[in-house]
């Protein structure tokens, strides 16, 4: 399968220390990788490396990027957005087309039709002329998905996409992602391991080091060897891949972070 991006022995961090050590990961066409791990474990840093927002301290990152336009579609966390910023939904979606080589941003009517088509696909064409501040968290999330998709990327990256989303749309979103996955690779960061393990094909556990699990089922034995402390939430109607919380070495006791009466014992 053609490779899209390859990280080899990458170490990265900021002024105040190393966040990721010796990380290797290859993303190929049609991959659907769930990135899990504790807060501060380096999930967001991994995404920033893939996006080219930060440079690694050592190691190499290769992008097999030979297509025109934007190779990666990105759905950031909503927390850094100024919800009162005066911008229309249509302009937010079109902003997915901006690129370095095109400072004169004139959008063709084809682009505008494309933006409207995506909003229709997400079921929110009536919001096109609204502004960011008038939308609910779930609606804004759909708008951001449109922005990420408008450049027809080869790789879609989602950072905690379920944070501001209502339950109904969350389920719908995962189904949409599986549909998108036929056309593009997907990298999704989430706390909600129980749900994503049901949708993703493979799992990358990030906690300073990266452990790649070539399936969406992780057994307790595997986890024990990886030092992956996980926060597990399982849902009643989802086939259960119950993962356990692991404390790093100092404590051999296995704590179940989320007790689920039907799956344990």
């Amino acid at each position: 399968m053609p490779e899209l991006i390859k990280l080899e022995n990458v170490t990265a961090g900021y002024d105040n220390g190393i966040v990721l050590r010796d990380v290797s990961l290859t993303v190929s066409n049609n991959d659907f990788i769930g990135v899990i791990g504790p807060n501060g474990g380096g999930k967001t840093t991994l995404i920033k490396l893939v996006l080219g927002l930060i440079k690694p301290i050592s190691g190499t990152i290769t992008r097999f990027d030979n297509q025109e336009g934007n190779f990666i579609g990105y759905l950031p966390q909503q927390s850094h957005i100024d919800r009162k910023f005066p911008i229309t939904v249509r302009d937010i979606v079109l902003s997915g087309l901006m690129s370095a080589g095109k400072p004169l941003n004139r959008y063709s009517s084809k682009n505008k039709t494309q933006a409207f088509g995506l909003l229709e696909q997400m079921g929110i064409p009536h919001l096109a002329n609204r502004t960011a501040g008038e939308l609910s968290g779930g609606q804004l999330q759909r708008v951001f998905i449109c922005r990420a998709l408008i450049s027809t990327p080869k790789l879609l990256i989602l950072d905690e996409p379920n944070t501001f989303v209502d339950n109904r749309f969350e389920h719908e979103m995962y189904e949409l992602l599986q549909e998108f996955n036929k056309r593009m690779a997907i990298l999704i960061i989430s706390h909600d391991v129980g749900t994503i393990s049901y949708f993703v094909k493979t799992i990358a556990c990030v906690n300073t080091y990266l452990h790649y699990h070539p399936s969406n089922i992780i057994t307790e034995e595997q986890l024990a060897g990886y030092n992956c402390p996980l926060q597990i939430i399982t849902h009643g109607d989802v086939p259960h891949t119950v993962l356990q919380k692991h404390d790093h070495g100092h404590d051999s006791e296995h704590n179940h972070s989320h007790q689920h009466p039907h799956t344990h014992e």
Binding site: F85, P86, I87, D91, S95, P103, N105
Partner: protein
């Protein structure tokens, strides 16, 4: 300065004896109206950007820091506006660099440069032998004494501002809305941030002649906040605030003639009055809508 006050009083007395049509026969009145128009354009565009990006405080810092340049201009015998332009651009870049590269927080950096600029200005003016003419006009503005040279500078800046927005509107909009996302698309984020910061600094300095250091921030924020009560798209905020700004300036000018009060302060007073009326209208409209929707149920 005493002389200026005398001529202003004299001209005001003259105006009071004339009709509306008579007012426009004075060259300086025509100049003032053109100045108000050009100030409304530059401040309408740049102010909308400042308000959207929440850069009001940094703009206040740039404005006051430029007083150091005015003092330096007097001391060296060069045009004070030239000195102010250098000081405002340097302080704008300084605030950004200091807050990005060091652990000093941005609002603290603004506070430091704000007062430092004022202090430098006061020291240089004190050291300048003789009497500093027009000093008060830099502090409070004097739209009635703008010269052809001032007007042409304002005109050039208005043309540059319009050109920048015409060519780069969407880039400016997208970078302002989500800087990190723009970076992930390799958009020239830093280049544009510095370009816009330069434009902000220049617009502030040029409009000091009209509104003065103490009042220029009003041209950059009040019409924009008023426009934002009714429209929510950056493009529309720009157009509406140019309109509000120009009509407010004209009303303010008229009142200041007839009541013989300072024009700069009167214009700001009118701006705030318009804002309050607009706020009341917006409130009534929304409460009517709310009542309407309750009645429907």
């Amino acid at each position: 300065m005493a002389m200026i006050l005398n001529t202003t009083t004299l001209t005001n007395t003259l105006i009071l004896t004339n009709s509306m049509a008579g007012i426009l026969s004075f060259d300086f009145v025509i100049h003032a109206v053109i100045a108000a128009f050009l100030a409304s354009i530059t401040c309408g565009f740049i102010g909308a950007y400042i308000v959207a990006r929440r850069m009001v405080f940094i703009s206040g810092g740039i404005t006051h820091a430029s007083f150091g340049g005015i003092g330096l201009g007097y001391f060296l015998g060069i045009n004070p506006i030239l000195g102010a332009a250098i000081f405002s651009i340097l302080s704008a870049f300084g605030i950004r660099l200091v807050s990005k590269q060091t652990d000093i927080r941005e609002d603290s950096a603004i506070g430091i440069l704000w007062s430092f600029g004022m202090a430098v200005g006061i020291i240089f003016i004190y050291l300048t032998p003789g009497y500093a003419p027009n000093l008060m006009s830099y502090l409070f503005g004097s739209i009635l004494t703008v010269t052809i040279a001032d007007l042409s500078m304002m005109g050039i800046l208005a043309a540059i501002t319009i050109a920048v927005f015409l060519f780069f509107y969407r880039t400016i909009l997208f970078i302002s809305f989500d800087e990190e996302y723009a970076r992930s698309h390799n958009a020239p984020v830093e280049t544009f941030n510095y370009l816009m910061l330069t434009l902000v600094a220049l617009v502030i300095v040029i409009n000091i002649r009209v509104a003065g250091i103490i009042l220029v921030i009003s041209y950059l924020t009040i019409p924009q906040s008023t426009a934002n009560l009714f429209v929510n798209d950056l493009k529309k905020i720009i157009f509406l605030s140019v309109l509000i700004s120009f009509s407010g300036s004209c009303i303010g000018l008229l009142i200041s003639y007839y009541w013989n009060i300072p024009s700069g302060a009167t214009i700001i007073f009118v701006f705030v009055l318009i804002f309050m009326i607009a706020r009341a209208i917006a409130y009534l409209r929304s409460s009517k809508q709310r009542n309407g929707s309750i009645a429907e149920r």
